[in-house]
Amino acid sequence: MTVRVGTEDFDIGAEIAALSAGRTDIGAVVSFTGLVRGEAGATQIAALELEHYPGMTEAALSEIEAEARRRWPLQEVLILHRVGRLAPGARIVLVVTASAHRRAAFEAAEFIMDYLKTRAPFWKKEATSEGGRWVDARDTDAAAEARWRIE
């Protein structure tokens, strides 16, 4: 279980290297990095404020990791999420999955991101020249999560 939430930036290459160091049973590593975009529609974003629910956040991310491990044969999983004020271009989230084969690593990383978007208690507020604006949840994120439901 490797889940971290905090204000600090992360080094993608160092995280991937640490996770696969000294191992020869990993054939595929997939990483997803989310970045702050500078525009939302026609509006310029000065910064993104990320709020979360300490305690529940870590529990929710750990449960998402556990569910991914139940569904795919994964050697390693890493989920890092930043909170606080982030400028456009800044890294927000890193998900890394490692498996013997690429399909499991790809699917698990996409699954974790889809679940994280709708199940981990983070909220984004955009700081713009017209003031702050809470980001609305997107229907496409709910649809993305629904793809993974097991009938």
């Binding site: 989310g34 999420h81 927000i92 994280l116 208690p121 983070f122 980001v135």
Partner: protein
Amino acid sequence: MQVLYFAWLRERIGTAREEVETQAATVTELIEELRARGEAHQAAFDDLTALRVAIDQKVAGFDAPIAKAREIAFFPPMTGG
């Protein structure tokens, strides 16, 4: 019990956390009591379809029992990642 608010709900109510003495059996009953606290609470709980609730840090339904709960949190749909 502790009642927590996040995101615009926190801003609208003006606090992140309040101690509540209640006999409410469900989340819905608790919301009725909270709405009686004043205009800010009433506005915040105006549209329940825009809200989610967690009981002791687990997402729950509005009809969930809360008799043994220590912490109830209200927030809008999550927008992380």
